[in-house]
Structures are given as C-alpha cells and as structure tokens.
C-alpha cells in the first residue's frame, strides 16, 4: 500500500518549520530547494499538505517523458528528465505538484529578477525570464537512509506530521473507531466557537 505523510491539524501551529526543513534537505541532496509541502490556512484549519503517493498515481500516468516513477514507497520525479510540461500538476487531485526552477537572478547579489506577470498568476502559468522549471513533489525524502524519517516529520516542533504506512494505519483505524464513538458524544463541547461557525 502507499505510504504518505499525514497531519494532525490541531497540532499544526502554521510555523512553517516543515517547509524550511524540506527546502534545506532537498537542496542538500542536489534537488530543487522549493518546499514540497504547502501550508494551507482557512479560518477553521491550518495544515501542511503534501502528496499522497497515490497507488494509481495520475501524475505518473500522464508524464510524457517517464520522468515520474514509483519506488517501493514513493512516487518520484526525476528533475533532470522532467520537461516542465505541467501535465502532472494539472491532474494531481491534491494540488501537491507544482513547477519550480532555480533563478539565476540574485546570485551573489549581481542580477535581479524582472517580473513579467502579477504574483497572483497561477503557478502553472507563471514564468520567469531565464528560468527552466521542473515538477517538484514530495518524494518522502528518497535520498535519506531507510531508518531516517522525512525531514519535515523530524523537524515539526509540535509533532503534527506523521508517516502513515501499512502498519501504522491498520493499528490506527481500530483506535480511531473506538475513539469516534466517544468523540461523537463530546464533539460539541470540545469544539471551539470557530469550528461551530
């Protein structure tokens, strides 16, 4: 079954430490420094979301150059092979893939970016002069050893992120069903006035 990173939103404080750890870890592995998680904020919820490593991964199915492949655990993009066509980002049901490139602007403070569109432009349409993009997505930190946790899970200061795989999920489902009975009863009392709204 697929392994993925899940989040407990009531523990997430929206601090972005996961993004920083993700960026640093991937940069050090020679990959794009763009964070693979996205901090998603609504009035009721704050959560860092990322790829579900779907079993029937649509991104993998649509890639025209076979830059996306499946390993035992994760669905991985080969950043060198990727042609930046963005098909995978279009079909991803979780918005968990987006394009990113390394700009030459700002290097050693000698050249600067020249924006060509508003920032609100969809990342699928945005482009920058001289920047070649490729798809980035969570690879469960594929460059780490088998005993190491993904960078974001390791770094989260409130321990809101979890690796969910076959073993953890089986145990969890039973616990959850038992807890759900109790939770149904106390839910109104436990919930905040924000959630009620």
């Amino acid at each position: 079954m697929n392994t993925f990173i899940a989040i407990e939103p009531d523990r997430c404080i929206g601090c972005g430490t996961c993004l920083a750890a993700c960026s640093y870890g991937h940069r050090m592995a020679g990959l794009q420094a763009e964070p693979r998680l996205a901090l998603t904020i609504t009035p009721q919820v704050t959560a860092a979301l990322t790829c579900h490593q779907c079993e029937g991964a649509p991104c993998l199915a649509v890639c025209p150059v076979d830059a996306i492949r499946r390993t035992d655990d994760a669905v991985i993009v080969n950043e060198q092979t990727c042609i930046g066509c963005k098909l995978c980002a279009v079909v991803c049901p979780f918005g968990a893939i987006h394009p990113s490139g390394t700009s030459t602007a700002g290097v050693a403070g000698i050249s600067y970016p020249t924006p060509t569109q508003p920032k609100s432009t969809s990342p699928l349409l945005a482009w920058n002069i001289g920047v070649y993009v490729c798809a980035v997505k969570c690879d469960l930190c594929s460059t780490l050893g088998p005993d190491e946790e993904p960078h974001c899970v390791e770094a989260c200061p409130t321990k809101a992120l979890f690796v969910r795989d076959a073993t953890t999920l089986t145990g969890n489902r039973k616990d959850k069903m038992i807890a759900a009975v109790a939770a149904n009863q106390i839910m109104m009392d436990r919930s905040t006035n924000l959630k009620e709204g």
């Binding site: 601090c15 920083a20 750890a21 403070g109 409130t158 924000l194």
Partner: protein, 726 residues
C-alpha cells in the same frame, strides 16, 4: 565536522542547539535537549545559521572598522587604533562641550549576550558618566516590566515556559505565540492535549484561536476596557479570593472604586464582543485550579500598555492565580536576550540586577566595585530610547551609540527617525551587518557575530543559558566587550577583561539574585533561572510562592485606571486600523534572517498586509496583489493577503520588511508611563494598483536599489588603508 553548543538567537524561548561546522563554515543546526525546547527547534533555529558565513543575500557583514571623517562624507576603512582614537576624541569633545547627558546609548538584546551589555552599561555609567542607556524592551515589553514592578515587584514572567503545559487554563491576551515563539506555542498545544482549557482574546483569529475553548474577537485598542470588565465580572460574581486579597494585597477598595463602573455590559460596544463572553471567560479563568495569562505586544504597544499590565497583574492577584508553578503571569519576551538587557541594567534607572540608580547605597556599591571616587556615578535616571527623536530636536542629545539594533527599521515613524539620526553630531553603530541605520553612521565598529563569541543569554522566563563560539571571528571583527573596554580605556576609564567568564563573575558578584548562576552550572545544556542567590540554589522557576511578592512590603499593589481611546482613531481619509505584527520566519530588523538562504526563500519583500476579504473587495484588491498602504506619515508598497481570520476594519503588517516597511506608516505616540510606541494602532488606508506588472517591477527596483545602496556603503571596507598596505 564539529558541533558547538549555542542558544538560538531568535526569540525569548531560549532554545538550546548545536551549530554544525565544516571547514570553518557553519553548515547546519540541530536541537539540543534544553530546558525550554526539549530538542525541538522552529524554522528560525533550524535554518537561521548561515548569515554568519556572510552570504550577502540581503546586505553584507561588516568586517573592518570604518569612519566618516566629516559629516556626510564617505565611509573610510581605518585601523582599529585609528577608529577607536577618532571615536574617543569625538565623544570626549561632545561630553566636554555639552555634558555627559548629551550622549545616549542603546544596548543590544540580540546576539551579543549579557556580558557585552554589562560592559557597555559600565562604560556608559562609569566612563561617559550618564544613565542614558536603554534597550529595545522600550519598544516591546517595557510596559510589562514597569507595570509588573509596580504591582508584584518583578518585571519578568512569574512562571516558567516548561510549566505552561501543566496549567489547567491558559488565557492568551494580545499574544500570538505561533508566530512570535513557536516553541512556546508547542507548550500550549501540549497543554491542550493534557486537558487544559484555552481562551484566546484577540482581534485576529490567531492560530491558537482554532484550538481554543473560547475565542473572543475584540476590537483593536480596547484592552483596558476589556480587562477592567473582566475584573468587574470576577468580583461581581464573587469569584475573587478574599482571604488572599486581605493577606497579600493592598489597595483593593480603591481599585474596586474604579473597576465597579466597568460592567461587561457597559463596555461590550467598545470591545466589540458580548458581555456574556467576558463573563464566561472570567468565570473559566477564576474557577480553574491553575490559570496562566500570557500576553504580548498586543498589550504593550498601546497608549495604555502599563495600565493594562497593572490590571492583568491585579486580576491574577485577586483570584489567587499567581505564585504557583502552573499559575501566574507570562509576558513572553520577544527578542532572545531582551530579558538579559533588562537584567544587565540597560535601562535608564537601573544598575544591573534591577538595582535603582536613585538609591545612594546602590551607587556607593557600584562606585566601590568599579573603582570610582565616591559620588561620581550619576543619580538621575537617563533618557529613554523613545526620547531620542525629541531629545535630538531639542538639542539635548548630540551623540548616539547604537549597539546591534536598527532603529530605522524597528522604531515608529522611520522618516522622522532618519531625520533624527542625520541631525546627530555623532552616530556610532556597532553591528555585524550594514543595516539601514549603520549606513548613516559616522563610526562603524564591526562586532563579532553570534556563533563567533561566547556568553550568556537570559531567556524570557529568567533562565540564564550559555552559548559558545562555533567559528573564529571574521575579518577584523572584535568582541563587543573588547570594543567597549578599549574605547573606555582611551577615554580615561581603563577596562580590561580576559574573557566573558571574568565579566560574568563580576556581574554575579554585584547582583545578589544572579550570584549562583555560575558558568559551571550552565555547562552543556545546563541552565540557571533567577533568582538564584546562592551557589547551591538550583534556581527559581516560579516567583511569588505563597503570595510573597517582591514589592517593598511583600504585598501586591492593586492599581486600576480608566480606559481611554487610542490616539489616532480611523476617519474618512484613513478608515482602517493598522496594527504591526511579527513574521514567523524572520526576526527583528531581518538583517540576520534575511541573509539566511532558506528563510529568505520562504518569505521575502515586500511582505504582506493581511486584510479581511470584505475590506479588500470594496477596494478592488485581489489576493497577492501589490497595493499601496498610506498613513499621515508615509506610503509604502506591499502585497495583500486576503485572510478571513482578520477582523474587518483592521489590517496587519509585519515589521520585518525594508520595502513594505510598516514603520514608515506608524506614529510616534507613546505610553506616557513607559515611553513605548503605540505600534498596534494607527489609522491607514489601502489602495489597489491597476498595473500589477508595473507594480511588481517597481517593487523589485526599490528592493534592488536598497540592496545596492547598502552594498555600496559597505564597499569601502574592502580598501586596505595605506598605513597597512605594505
């Protein structure tokens, strides 16, 4: 690969970490099992190390001393001897011509540490001969320090950060720990999971509001009215602890005389919440076995900051929610060593260890210890940091010695501040980066950076912890305490220290409450929480146990005040309230974090103005659009973030941005009791920009020009002086 123990330099939580060094470069950081962080770090601790390596992402480090021989001339790199001689001569001339009180200094609550600050205030008092020394607490928790000293006797947190997770109830009032102190927010999440009730009172639905049992959205600027009503509800519903009040407080009757007029119903309109919510919160707070009130800049950066702190402390006292490990007061400090600056006497009326300068016995003690003739230390409290603008205008302040701060970024009304700094006869800036303030300086002293020196920081909950150097000083950077000592020696008061331990031992010998905090006790991940009066004292996590307050009569003084409106109310021209807040991934003036690869990538100029979607819609503003924000002081470009967590009628900007600079807009109005600016409330307007591509390019060009200007200002440091050229 080597690892060097340090304490994170980015907030008052005091997280212990290791700096990882390879080939003389700091390449990483990892959490250590410190008392407050238990091995965890937030993004700043984890990714905030590479500025040490002089990445030049935002602005270059200063590696050589520079002077401007003439006002308005170019900076010129000179030898340390020449720079120190030049400065000593200038300062001495100003002192002789205008008197010692014409010289103002500010300590650094950031990377330098307690020892450097101690030596600076010693230089100020013993050598310059003035009490004109202050620190950035003035712009942040100054009102907490003053208000708590008045009411309960000590200006610090009464509980410790680790104990917050064991409270039965936590009330957050004007405090957003998720952005200000993620590692404290972590304790609040844990408290919730252990069953604590959480109440959040804030105009913004902050992160903690999501997990709160009760969230009360109040109007901006209503704090004292709200807290008065909160206190009124407690007493009118008989939830106060009469035996405790009688045994441990004074002034209850007079206090009630004011408070009795503030029924929740009478202030509901001012506060913008229901009277019943105020009563409900008061009941929950008073009835819980152990309650903690946490507050932040939302309370202190207001025109009634001190008065609100008086009321918060009174509420804890009348309900007996104070003096236990899990019950008390938690004004959590912003900068990593702002507690330390106050501890070290970077304050116009205190010697180190909160010993009043006005007390002749204290002056005699310090004169003896510092080898000064009797009667030579000044008795009159000095200027406050926020006295600088009018002090210069009135010709009272002629020289300003800026140590590791960037007032042009962090103080209100930066256009006025620029004029102030330009009108000084002498501006000295001792920093690690070419900041906007340093770019105006007549003398630039390169100090060593955090990571290049040793020392002790005071975390927000009075915890002393040691940090150590990871790499040697770059260029000609000198330790801050060496610079002060050498300057002092040249000005006729010789000082010399071998290392920070020698300085710290002098601090301990002069401050009874710090005496037991030895370097040995703080080895590794060790710590010492003051008061720690003896060598075998393990430290004191909780103040006021058994209702023993540290006021002269050991009793809490209940003080009540009437509510007044903020200074600048919104009107037709400026209909929105501007409130300045904090960026989670950047720190203070951003000179450090803005030079860190990961942090600069995650959040960069021009920052955001957060606004309610309804306010954006009427102004035809879309999410992520660049917009103009203007006030009576100025106009800046920034980016709109449409955010339903924001209350209508108010907008929020973080103060870390140099282009989207909210302090071009804020107003220099201060709380008369503390001199703290009213950064949380000024009137503004937000306007859309039709041509977004133009706006993007314009913003980028402003940013580029600023970076270029600072790099050019620092460039003379690369030209070796002729005297050293061979």
């Amino acid at each position: 690969m080597e690892k060097h123990m340090a304490v994170c330099p980015y907030c008052g939580a005091g997280c212990k970490l290791n700096l990882i060094v390879e080939d003389g470069m700091v390449i990483g950081a990892e959490g250590l099992d410190g008392v407050t962080n238990e091995g965890e770090l937030c993004l700043k601790g984890l990714s905030g190390f590479d500025f040490i390596n002089d990445t030049k992402i935002l602005t270059p480090r200063i590696l050589h001393p520079m002077i401007r021989r003439e006002k308005g001339g170019e900076l010129e790199r000179v030898s340390w001897d020449e720079a120190l001689d030049f400065t000593a001569k200038k300062l001495t001339e100003i002192k002789e011509k205008y008197g010692p009180d014409s010289i103002m200094l500010t300590g650094s609550s950031r990377g330098p540490g307690n020892e450097a600050n101690y030596v600076m205030q010693k230089f100020t008092r013993a050598c310059v001969g003035t009490n004109n020394i202050d620190n950035c607490a003035r712009t942040c928790h100054g009102p907490s320090v003053i208000g708590l000293m008045d009411t309960v006797g000590s200006g610090a947190m009464s509980v410790s950060i680790p104990n917050m997770e064991n409270a039965d109830l936590i009330l957050l009032f004007g405090y957003n720990p998720s952005a200000s102190h993620p590692i404290v927010a972590r304790r609040i999440v844990k408290a919730k999971e252990k069953g604590a009730k959480i109440i959040v009172v804030d105009p913004r639905a902050i992160e903690t509001a999501r997990i709160a049992d009760l969230y009360i959205q109040i109007n901006n600027g209503c704090n004292l009215a709200f807290m008065n009503a909160f206190a009124n509800a407690i007493v009118s519903e008989n939830l106060h602890d009469i035996p405790f009040i009688e045994a441990h407080t004074t002034g209850f009757d007079e206090w009630w005389n004011t408070i009795k007029n503030y029924t929740p119903e009478s202030v509901a309109d001012i506060c913008g919440c229901s009277a019943e919510d105020i009563r409900k919160a008061a009941r929950m707070y008073a009835k819980a076995p152990n309650s903690i009130i946490g507050w932040g800049m939302g309370v202190t950066q207001q025109c009634q900051g001190v008065k609100t702190v008086h009321q918060i402390a009174a509420i804890a006292c009348i309900t007996n929610q104070i003096g236990r490990d899990n019950a008390g007061l938690a004004p959590v400090r912003g900068q990593n060593n702002v507690q330390g600056s106050c501890d070290m006497g970077m304050w116009p009326s205190w010697f180190p260890g909160y010993q009043k300068v006005e007390d002749p016995a204290n002056r005699e003690k310090f004169e003896k210890a510092w080898g000064l003739p009797a009667g030579s230390l000044p008795a009159k409290p000095g200027f406050k940091l926020t006295d600088l603008p009018h002090g210069v205008k009135e010709g009272k302040i002629k020289a300003f010695y800026n140590f590791g701060e960037d007032p042009l970024q962090t103080e209100p009304d930066s256009n006025d501040m620029r004029e102030t700094l330009e009108n000084l006869e002498l501006l000295i800036s001792q920093d690690i980066f070419m900041t906007q303030t340093t770019a105006l300086a007549d003398v630039v002293f390169p100090g060593t950076s955090w990571g290049e020196h040793d020392g002790v920081f005071s975390a927000s909950d009075r915890t002393f912890q040691r940090f150590t150097a990871a790499v040697p000083p770059k260029g000609e950077c000198k330790h801050d305490w060496q610079i002060f000592s050498e300057l002092s020696t040249r000005m006729g008061y010789p000082m010399h220290y071998e290392d920070t331990k020698e300085i710290w031992d002098e601090v301990r010998s002069l401050c009874p409450n710090f005496y037991g905090a030895t370097y040995e006790k703080m080895d590794g991940a060790g710590h010492a929480q003051w008061p720690v009066p003896t060598l075998d004292c393990p430290g004191t996590p909780t103040l006021y146990k058994g209702g023993q307050f540290t006021t002269p009569d050991k009793k809490a003084r209940l003080l009540a005040h009437d509510f007044i409106e903020p200074t600048e109310m919104p009107d037709d021209s400026y209909p929105l309230v501007l409130c300045t807040v904090r960026e989670v991934g950047h720190y203070s003036c951003r000179s450090m974090t803005g030079n860190c690869k990961v942090l600069a990538m995650l959040a960069d100029e021009p920052g955001y103005v957060h606004m309610n979607p309804a306010d954006a819609k009427t102004r035809n503003i879309k999410d992520d659009d660049l917009v103009w924000v203007s006030s009576r002081r100025g106009k800046v470009i920034t980016r709109a973030c449409l955010d339903e967590r924001i209350n209508k009628g108010a907008v929020y900007m973080t103060y870390q941005w140099w282009i989207g600079k909210c302090n071009d807009l804020t107003m220099h109005a201060t709380d008369p009791l503390s001199g703290t600016p009213e950064d949380k409330y000024s009137a503004c307007e937000v306007q859309n920009i039709e041509d977004q591509v133009w706006a993007e390019r314009h913003m980028q060009s402003l940013y580029t020009a600023l970076k270029d200007r600072l790099a050019a200002e620092a460039a003379p440091q690369n030209i070796v002086p002729a005297s050293e050229a061979q």
